[in-house]
Amino acid sequence: MGNLEAMKPFPDSEEMEISFGPQHPATHGVLRVMVKLDGERIVDAKPVIGYLHRGTEKIFERETYNGAIPHTDRMDYTAAATNNQGLVGAVEKMMGITVPPRAAYIRMILAELQRIASHTIWLGTHALDIGAQSPFFYTFEEREKILDLYEEYCGARLTLNAMRVGGQPYDLPEGWSGRCRTFIDQFPARIAEWERLLTTNRIWKLRTVGVGVISAENAVEWGLTGPPLRGSGVKWDIRKVFPYDHYDDIDFEIPIGGNGDTYDRYLVRMEEMRQSVRIVQQCLARLPEGPVMAKVPKVIKPPKGELYFSVEGPKGELGYYVVSEGGANPYRLHVRPACFINLQALPEMVRGQLVADLIAVIGTLDIVLGEIDR
C-alpha cells in the first residue's frame, strides 16, 4: 500500500486492491481482508488469517486434560466458559463420567451468562462498526456485571478456567445466585433499551437489511453454524439437537430468521440473549444441592479411542475432537472453531456489495481471531 504503482488501476480494469487489516479498526483483531474494489463495490474479498496463530492444538498435545482448559480460554476469549464446557464435556463423555447435577447446572448458568456476555460484545462492536458509538458502552456496562459474577465465582473475569473434568472446581459462593438473579432479572430491560436504539432505527435497518445475505442452502454448504445459520432460517442448535449438561430439562426457544441478512442475524442474537436469560432463570430456580465434583481419578486418563463432542458456543458449533491413546495427554485434540468456518463464507456474503457492507458483515459474523487462528 502507499506507492503510486500499486494505486494505478489494473491495465484493463478500474479495480483497486486494498488491504483491510491486519491493523484496522473494524477487523476485530488481526484479520486481514484483501479486497478487490471497483470504486466502492467489492469485486472479491479474500480473508487472510493466521496472524494470531499460537499453535493451540499443538500445545494441547503436551498438556494434561485439565491443563488444557486454560488454553481453551484463550481461543474464543470472549466466551471462555463455553470453550471450557466443550473440552470438559468431551473428556467426560470419553471417560463415561456423569457430572453431578449441581455442577451441570452451574455450567449451564456460566455458559449462558457467557453467551450473553459474548453477544453483548458482538452488539457493541457491530454497532460501533456501523457507526453507532453508544451501544458499545451500554453493552460493555452489562458485560462488566457478568464478568463481576465470574470473578466472584472463579476468580477470573475473562479467561475463566472455571470447569474441570468431572465437575466444577468450586461451589457457588454465598449469595451468588441471588446476585446472578438480580442481574438476570434486570437484563431484559436493557436489551429492550438497546433495541429501542437500534431495531427500528431507519439507518440501522438501511445498513443491515439485505446486507450479507446468505441463503439457507448456501449457509449449510458453507458450514455456517450458530446465529449465522439460524439467521438464514435453519432451526438448528446443538443444545436442542444433542443436548449436553441438562439442556433437555430446560425450556427455551431457538430463534430463527428468514432472510439470512445482517438484520436477521441481529434479531436472532438479540432474541438469543433473551432466551439465555430464560435459561439462567430456570437453572437458578432448579439449581440442585449436592456435590459439584464427580469421583474422578487424580490423573485424567481417557481410554483409547476418539470422540467428537460439540457445544453450542455463542459463535456457533464449537466442537472438540479428542483422540486418546490412553495416556494423560491427548494424542490429538482438534478444535472445530465456529468462527474459522463462519469466516470462510465472508467472500460469498460480501461479493458485489460495498465497502461499508464488508464491515457490517465482518461484524455480523461475530468473529474472534483468537478462535480463528488458534
Binding site: 456423569t98 454448504e221 458453507w222 430439562d249 476418539e306 494424542y331 490429538r332 470462510q344 488458534r374
Partner: protein
C-alpha cells in the same frame, strides 16, 4: 441422539432424589468401549449404496467411525451428501500416527444429516506423500479445512482450488501438527531481539527448564 447412546443415563435433575443407590457421579465411571459397528444402521446405509467402501467400522461412545479407502473418499462423500442426505460437513481434520505402518495419517471427516440429526465419521488412512481427493467440490466448507490440514500436516489434496498455507505463512518450514515437529517450535528466523533477550526464558543462567 446417536451421540448419547453409550453414555450412562443422565442423572435425574430432581435435587432430593433418594440416594439409596450411589449416584452415578459417586461411582467409578464406566468408560465406553469401542465396538465393531459393521451392523450399525448408519454403516449399513453406506454399504447398501457403495458395497465395498467400508473397510472398518467402529462405534465408540455412540459415535460411528467408518474407515474408507483413501482413493474413494471423494466418491463416498458425494454419495453421502447426495444420496444419504449428509448435507453438512461438520469437521475435517487429520491425525498423525507417526509410526503406523499402514499410512501415517488419518484424515477424518465428520458429516451431519439434518433430517434425523445423525452424525457419521468417515476416516481414511493416508500414507505420506499420497494425495487425498479433495471434497471441496462436495461441500464448499471443506476448502479452508483442507487448507488447514495441509498446513498443519502436509497432506496434499488433489483438485483443491487453492491449496495454500492458511495459518502459518507461505514458506514456513515444516508442518506443525506432525508428531515429529518439535513442540517447542523451530527457529523460523523470526526471533525478536535475540541480542537483548537470549533464548531460554528467565534470567537464571543455565538454570532454565530443567
Amino acid at each position: 441422539m446417536s451421540d448419547q447412546q453409550n453414555v450412562p443415563p443422565q442423572a435425574p435433575s430432581a435435587p432430593q432424589a433418594p440416594a439409596a443407590p450411589k449416584a452415578p457421579w459417586e461411582e467409578k465411571p464406566v468408560t465406553p468401549v469401542p465396538q465393531d459397528a459393521r451392523d450399525h444402521a448408519l454403516v449399513r446405509e453406506i454399504v447398501a449404496v457403495l458395497p465395498d467402501v467400508v473397510l472398518e467400522a467402529v462405534e465408540f461412545a455412540g459415535q460411528i467411525t467408518a474407515t474408507v479407502p483413501c482413493a474413494r473418499i471423494g466418491e463416498v462423500c458425494r454419495t453421502c451428501k447426495e444420496r444419504l442426505g449428509y448435507s453438512f460437513l461438520v469437521d475435517l481434520t487429520a491425525v498423525d500416527w507417526q509410526e503406523r505402518p499402514q499410512g501415517r495419517f488419518d484424515v477424518v471427516y465428520w458429516v451431519h444429516r439434518f433430517s434425523d440429526s445423525k452424525r457419521l465419521r468417515l476416516k481414511v488412512n493416508v500414507a505420506e506423500g499420497v494425495e487425498v481427493p479433495s471434497v471441496t467440490g462436495v461441500w464448499k466448507v471443506a476448502n479452508w479445512m483442507e487448507r488447514e490440514v495441509f498446513d498443519m500436516f502436509g497432506i496434499y489434496f488433489s483438485d483443491h482450488p487453492n491449496l495454500e498455507r492458511i495459518l502459518t505463512w507461505e514458506g514456513f518450514n515444516g508442518h506443525p501438527l506432525r508428531k515429529d515437529f518439535p513442540i517447542e517450535g523451530i527457529d523460523t528466523g523470526a526471533a525478536v531481539y535475540p541480542e537483548v533477550y537470549p533464548p531460554g526464558g528467565g534470567p537464571v543462567a543455565g538454570g532454565e527448564g530443567e
